[in-house]
Symmetry: C4
Subunit: 251 residues, 4 copies
Amino acid sequence: MIESEVKLFNRPKMEKPLLIEGLPGIGYVGKLAAEHLIEEFEAEKFGEINSPFFPHHVSIDSGILSPAKNEFYLVELEGKDVIILVGDVQATSSEGHYELANKVLDTAESFDVSRIFTLGGYATGQYSKSQPKVFGVVNHPKLLEEYGSDGLVIREGTGPIIGISGLLLGLGSLRSIRGVCLLGETHGMLVDHRSARSVLEALSSMLDFKVDLSKLEEHAKKTESILRRMRKVEKLRKRRKEREEEVSYIG
Amino acid sequence: MIESEVKLFNRPKMEKPLLIEGLPGIGYVGKLAAEHLIEEFEAEKFGEINSPFFPHHVSIDSGILSPAKNEFYLVELEGKDVIILVGDVQATSSEGHYELANKVLDTAESFDVSRIFTLGGYATGQYSKSQPKVFGVVNHPKLLEEYGSDGLVIREGTGPIIGISGLLLGLGSLRSIRGVCLLGETHGMLVDHRSARSVLEALSSMLDFKVDLSKLEEHAKKTESILRRMRKVEKLRKRRKEREEEVSYIG
Amino acid sequence: MIESEVKLFNRPKMEKPLLIEGLPGIGYVGKLAAEHLIEEFEAEKFGEINSPFFPHHVSIDSGILSPAKNEFYLVELEGKDVIILVGDVQATSSEGHYELANKVLDTAESFDVSRIFTLGGYATGQYSKSQPKVFGVVNHPKLLEEYGSDGLVIREGTGPIIGISGLLLGLGSLRSIRGVCLLGETHGMLVDHRSARSVLEALSSMLDFKVDLSKLEEHAKKTESILRRMRKVEKLRKRRKEREEEVSYIG
Amino acid sequence: MIESEVKLFNRPKMEKPLLIEGLPGIGYVGKLAAEHLIEEFEAEKFGEINSPFFPHHVSIDSGILSPAKNEFYLVELEGKDVIILVGDVQATSSEGHYELANKVLDTAESFDVSRIFTLGGYATGQYSKSQPKVFGVVNHPKLLEEYGSDGLVIREGTGPIIGISGLLLGLGSLRSIRGVCLLGETHGMLVDHRSARSVLEALSSMLDFKVDLSKLEEHAKKTESILRRMRKVEKLRKRRKEREEEVSYIG
């Protein structure tokens, strides 16, 4: 059977880079955060992953289709080399998730990655208009000490983390690659730029870099204005319905 | 594990052929269109594909069973060599879809295929009695220019294309094989010869060949007359039921 | 990944044997028929198949568990060597079905099997108390001529045959092994010894051997007496309920 | 594709050890029993299994995540070397179950394991407050004689055993490794320490070792007190509701 394939267009020089992962998941939090970094810092793409474990579809943009893929970007954050992994899909099966996470870790090891940060959302069923909290989990006790002072918030009673954000760190620990998973609180059914902003704030504090988050905030405000309008329409609809019922009672 | 297998009965000589794919999908549009070409131009079968990813059943015709398969035909359209891929099934899993699409592309490359046309349907929930529209998507921006004058209609906001029609072009782009996907508007729950006719009109205009579409039109008219009869029967049934209810009220 | 494995305890000498398959399926018709042959003719087991595509369970009989498996038996019917394939499971996925069917065909070819007969049920939703009909499908047109005079009944408009009974013949045809599938009419939700009897009658007529079918008939009668009792109980339950309702109306 | 991997941190010396399996299943009976042995006898971990067939998630404990895994422990029970297999997951597919069971058996064979005991629950839909019964099944008739005097209870009409507890013994029998599966009666929807206690009583009687079961009994009592409180709250809720309805009738 064919395997997932990592294709590197070139092998950029990097020194003990970090790996940041932001693939689609709950609230698209990780993907939005990682893509924001790519845009803000004009990261350069240097590789991609194709896999028979991705969904068997292609996406279309302005009449042009492209296969499902994950992509590697390179950026420098305050002098540190950082590989960013983004994409439009995750695997469709357990075996696929394990194979892909291992291929990413193979690539990470080949570049001597020193630490992994995976970004994602934590579904609460509620949309936060102010500042979504960010929880952290690590794959080695030492990291709790190291990042504790950066405000890494541990949440007790968390369920398992599903998908690549968890697997990269879980399987990473088997290869002695340490890392942190940052999960922004989010509704779960809404694309959440504000939670992505919170996650990037936590990340930038831990990694000591600055990033302009205003675009994420703008997007969040747009989402909120759409939500407000939808709620208003819903209220009007309800009130009209109630009035109609009154009329029919009177009649 | 066993793999999908392409079996070529012979290797016909062709020069930079085109590949046209029409496997079963929405409204059977692609399959009907591709099979119409095979019939009209008396294409010759030169190979087939068997796969453990096909459904685990066999089909029966007049007491004779045959295994699920995809088939390669060869035809000459206005001097151009054209491979046509048809069949009665698609794969049953993501991995299967990827393996099969890659095997087809391997075969295409071995014949130096210069361009791929995949044919399919686009579900709208409505049956068009006149002229179903045909949308196009390409796997390289250059093709938008090239075919723009042939009336290639781009539709914005299209969802992903699922199955081999999309994958052949998506994975084809990774091998630098360019291609176009033509999607005929169709109801989605009906076998739609008229949409297949529209798709072939678009294709023949792009590829500059002539094809008699009267058989597809006949089939479409039959389908419509069946639909009309079904609607009439349904109306009569309703009216009778209403009358019965009146009678029972009177009684 | 591990594969399905055929284990032959010994390689009995046979001359151009037939292969009869009767694995669990609709109404257990094929399994009952094949097991009846094994019992009546005291066939000898000479091999078995283990597979990771079988369900992940073990069956238990009188406190002793055994793994899911398919089994090869050998019997002589009127001087003809006959391999019988029986078992308690079929594969759980398309890939598994294809792998297993191909392993069986590998074994069949290694013994130079000349013809395959697969036995199964055809669900009609009705239980026949007299003589269930048996339909036949073949994997080569020549067989329609050959067996036509033995009363091979072709049924038009049959849907696809699902599972190993179809696949063995479908994939067999790709290896030029000819064969017949015999499907006994059956309810579909009941274990049907009578349909198995019909199938064996058709088979024995085609292969010119005699077999005592009285045990199957006995079983069928038991099933019918159970069904009768169940229907009686149901009638009584209904009548009692109606009387109770009458009483409560009166009261 | 990647495979399940057994990693042994060291190869402890053992003489014809037993293998006891207790992975998560019905009522968590097997897992609770096996983990109790590990705690009581301070077993030492000497290996673990990672697998792409495990669920694609990681579990979290106090902010630290770890990958899904199965673990091998070693303990001495009354002079006998005993390997204990525990973990937090089982495979997610049939193929995965078969691969994992075979990997465990490979490891067992490499240590010359003389007998396997698999522990699990048997769902009855009822919670037993006194002494849940324990049923046994074996993979070789000789074991019925051998353990009959130890009170091995056979239950007729048992359905198939699903998962690794059955497969280890089923596939073990193909390698001539004999073993016993002990199933404690349990509700099925509750974590059942009392059933685990019963299973360990049966096991200790068969293997002639002593084990303090008071911790399991304590846990069972806690579960029961929680259940009692839940039932009381439910009763109160019902009574209050009834009274409210009375009031509204009076009003």
